[in-house]
């Protein structure tokens, strides 16, 4: 089974209340480094077998038509999920990338 990742973010000029809320909460955890936070969506699409260029093309089509709202969002990335990405393996401790 292959997987394709589609990343969608609000356009930079659009207000992101969710990101703002996170931005406001971080200092309360003592995390003061972050000057801005934006929250977007990440979709993982599965296909049978290997990911082909056609799959990617169709994922792009889905990204532009269904997964994002072009009025307020940008599709910022569509790519195959490769196995050395730590996908779905929870990140723990120091060793994690």
């Amino acid at each position: 089974m292959g997987r394709i990742v589609v990343d969608v973010m609000l356009k930079p000029e659009i207000l992101d209340p969710q990101g703002q809320a996170v931005r406001g909460a971080l200092p309360r955890l003592g995390l003061t480094d972050f000057t801005d936070v934006r929250q977007g969506k990440r979709f993982v699409l599965s296909v049978d077998g290997e990911v082909t260029p056609e799959h990617l093309a169709r994922a792009r089509e889905a990204a532009e038509t269904l997964l994002s709202n072009p009025v307020i969002e940008d599709v910022v990335d569509v790519h195959e999920l490769v196995h050395d990405e730590p996908e779905q393996a929870p990140l723990t401790g120091e060793g994690a990338r």
Partner: protein, 758 residues
């Protein structure tokens, strides 16, 4: 670095070519600006004038007609209004020291572009209008119009709009207590998203939007300012002097209901603390509007340091900041010695607040940018003395033909077909059960909702101690408006008034949202004038004022305008909300009474529309005297406590009123309409389907109550007929139909789900 277009610079470059046309200004409007200023406007001034003189902000096409509403006596049946047309929202006295403010507004076009955010920010905007009066918002409503139910674009627009209204209103903690959902092809491409908000306040808490008292501080508080809603100004960007070009400006505004909820609580605390001299919300035209209106309504002078405005996007230029329509912002006028107290409260709510400037005695609105003057104008010329057009009007050519094409040409169903007709109507888009929508709205929050959908009117307690309450309804049948805009507006009022009255509340005041096509089309302008005249005359006759409202023009695609859709909201008061009566048969064995007179009036009604796709003829006869008599009867009967239920007759006629009454609690009825037919000279089909005004169905529990009701009806001149008894699992109308309540429910509830539940 770019050159700043200062007032001084404008004086030195009188002949600079300016993009007034691209900003939507007419040549003579631009000339007038030059005349007012005695020089060419700066870019910032041009931006302000263009947006404030737009149709949306200046009401330039509608003003000559709307002025009439100001001629109505500014009194309700309970006394003088506390604030009327011209304020952010009208305020009326509802007794016991309480006042209520309410207003309906449109957010039609933004909701077509981006349904969720458009509708959400529509709710946000009207709520800020209500807050700006010093009131606590207590309820919202949402009159909606969409294209055909089966059109693919309706599948895009409706769920988004509903989610947006719910997403914003629910997050604010405002119960949604009513609205409308109407489908008609004429709204394809031009859906109507109107939003109404009601607020309550003590008389002494009334706040007005004016900046008085030289030396008082002008404070902007709430969200940061971004580039929202300044698409028009991109025109300026290309004309001005920046290198590199600006970053993109958002095409739609995004709402942050959380920020607004905090703003509501923060404002109420500011009012309680007595630290606000004047207050204005920021809506259309943003700071341009707030500064010029506050100054214009007050002492007339204000100075503002625009570079102090907290920004979300540091690339914004001065004129963009002036025009930005970023949401969730307010502007207050605060005495200098109260500023610290003010800031302590905004801090407590984590609301950003910034002193931008102060009230002056100069009579000028002066705005600076890093010390340089970029605006120096008489504020009245921006806010109140915009252009006014008396646009040409023409009675539509097609109207005679349409009025001649009455529904008499349609095959009236025989008595054996009526059962199926009722089922078909119950399932039809405009009459079907709307709980798929209304279940997405919180109707319980605040704990004061006595009645919400599917009631005739929302019924809300405003004082926990005494039970004082209000009833609100919004209505409009745009098809009636198309057949006769004068009558259409009156019928909208008639129905809304009736919906409020059936609860037992005394109707007090009107707000309206006039949704029309292009004012540049003389036929549309004629429709508009007729609708305003109709509403004016009807309010005069009913003795209630119009306290506020909104006009939405340009709802058309190409040459084709929507039906004239003057949505009318009526607000009423009831001394003890616990006595308010709801719709629906609740118990077996109660007497059913039909109130009012039925005429043969099927033109423009749901039967002709839903089952025959026909629209022609003339709408039902307006009978405001009968409407008033019915309302007075209800106030008396509800006060006497003799009604166990009441439901008005409107869309779909008596058949639908009876069916809905049975569906409400699952209690059937056995009825015989012979008394109605004989008295009014109509056949059974007409009795069931006609949409004559001033009618309702009520139930009483016993003979004694019956006698009281009959007496009260006689006293008020309301025709009353005993038509049957509640009970059983079917709705039976002798000689016409017998339908299982369960079968009706199936038909009634399937429609919305089949189109929208995915």
């Amino acid at each position: 670095m770019s050159t700043l277009d200062t007032v001084a610079h404008a004086g030195q470059t009188p002949d600079l070519d300016q993009p007034w046309a691209d900003l939507g200004l007419k040549e003579d409007e631009y000339a007038r600006i030059r005349e007012i200023l005695g020089r060419r406007p700066t870019i910032a001034e041009l931006a302000m004038y263009s947006v404030m003189w737009s149709e949306h902000c200046s009401y330039k096409s509608s003003k000559v007609h709307l002025r009439r509403f100001g001629d109505l006596p500014q009194t309700t049946p309970l006394g003088d209004t506390l604030a009327g047309i011209g304020e952010n929202a009208g305020v009326i006295d509802v007794g016991q020291g309480w006042a209520v403010t309410f207003k309906v507004e449109s957010h039609n076009h933004p909701s077509y572009v981006e349904p969720y955010q458009g509708a959400a920010t529509g709710v946000g905007g009207i709520v800020r209008d209500i807050m700006a009066m010093g009131a606590r918002p207590v309820a919202v409503m949402d009159p909606l119009r969409f294209g055909a139910i089966d059109h693919p674009d309706t599948a895009r627009v409706l769920p988004g709009v509903v989610k947006g209204i719910g997403g914003y209103g629910n997050s604010l903690g405002l119960p949604n207590v009513g609205g409308e959902i109407v489908f008609d092809e004429c709204y394809q491409g031009n859906p109507l998203v109107n939003a109404l908000c009601v607020g309550t306040l003590r008389h002494e808490d009334l706040h007005l939007a004016k900046a008085s008292g030289a030396g008082n501080k002008v404070v902007l508080f709430g969200a940061k300012t971004g580039g929202d809603g300044i698409g028009g100004v991109s025109v300026l960007a290309s004309e001005t002097f920046d290198e590199g070009g600006p970053t993109k400006r958002p095409a739609v505004q995004v709402g942050d209901p959380f920020a607004e909820k905090v703003l509501i609580e923060c404002c109420l605390e500011l009012y309680r603390a007595g630290v606000v001299e004047g207050i204005q919300d920021l809506g259309g035209a943003g700071l341009s509007c707030a500064t010029s209106e506050l100054a214009s309504a007050g002492d007339g002078g204000m100075s503002v340091e625009l570079d102090r405005v907290p920004l979300r996007d540091s690339t914004l230029r001065a004129e963009e900041i002036l025009m930005s329509e970023s949401q969730e912002r307010m502007m207050a006028v605060v005495a200098p010695d109260q500023v610290d107290a003010f800031m302590a409260i905004t801090d407590r709510w984590d609301v950003e607040a910034t002193v931008l400037g102060e009230v002056t005695g100069t009579g000028r609105l002066v705005i600076t940018w890093h010390g340089e003057t970029i605006v120096d104008v008489p504020p009245r010329s921006v806010a109140h003395d915009g252009p006014v057009y008396d646009r040409p009007m023409a009675r539509p050519q097609w109207l005679d033909a349409v009025q001649a094409d009455s529904s008499a040409s349609l095959p009236r169903p025989g008595t054996d077909e009526l059962g199926q007709v009722v089922l078909d109507l119950l399932a039809s888009p405009n009459l079907c059960d709307k709980s798929w929508v209304t279940d997405q709205y919180d109707r319980y929050v605040l704990g004061n909702t006595r009645q919400a959908m599917p009631a005739d009117a929302g019924l809300v307690r405003i004082d926990e101690r005494t039970g004082l309450g209000i009833a609100v309804s919004t209505d409009c049948n745009g098809r009636f408006g198309r057949l006769d805009p004068y009558a259409g507006a009156q019928l909208a009022l008639s129905e809304s008034y009736r919906n409020v009255a059936t609860t037992g509340a005394l109707p007090l005041a009107v707000t309206d949202c006039l949704n029309f096509g292009s004012p540049e089309d003389p036929e549309v302008m004629w429709q508009f004038e007729r609708a305003v005249a109709g509403l004016f005359d009807a309010c005069l006759e009913l003795g209630i004022p119009v306290t506020g409202g909104n006009v939405s023009f340009y709802n058309q695609t190409g040459d084709v305008a929507i039906h004239p859709t003057p949505v009318v909201g009526v607000l009423g008061v009831i001394e003890d909300v616990a006595k308010g009566v709801g719709a629906g048969f609740a118990h077996d064995g109660q007497v059913v009474l039909a109130l009012g007179r039925t005429r043969d009036e099927l033109d423009g009604g749901e039967w002709a529309h839903a089952l025959h796709g026909h629209l022609g003829g003339v709408p039902p006869q307006v009978d405001l005297a009968a409407e008033k008599a019915l309302a007075d009867f209800f106030v008396a009967a509800v006060r006497a406590g003799v009604l166990t239920s009441s439901h008005d007759v409107s869309d779909g006629g008596l058949a639908i009123t009876l069916a809905e009454s049975a569906l409400r609690h699952g209690v059937g009825a056995s009825l015989d309409l012979t008394p109605v037919c004989e008295r009014d000279g109509v056949d059974l089909t007409t009795a069931l389907l006609s949409e004559s005004v001033a009618r309702a169905v009520v139930t009483v529990a016993d003979e004694q109550s019956l006698a009281t009701v009959v007496n009260l009806a006689a006293e008020h001149g309301v025709p009353v007929a005993r038509v049957g008894t509640t009970g059983g699992s079917t709705l039976k109308v002798k000689g016409a139909l017998e339908l299982e309540v369960d079968a009706m429910r199936l038909a009634h509830t399937a429609t919305m789900r089949s189109y929208f539940a995915s």
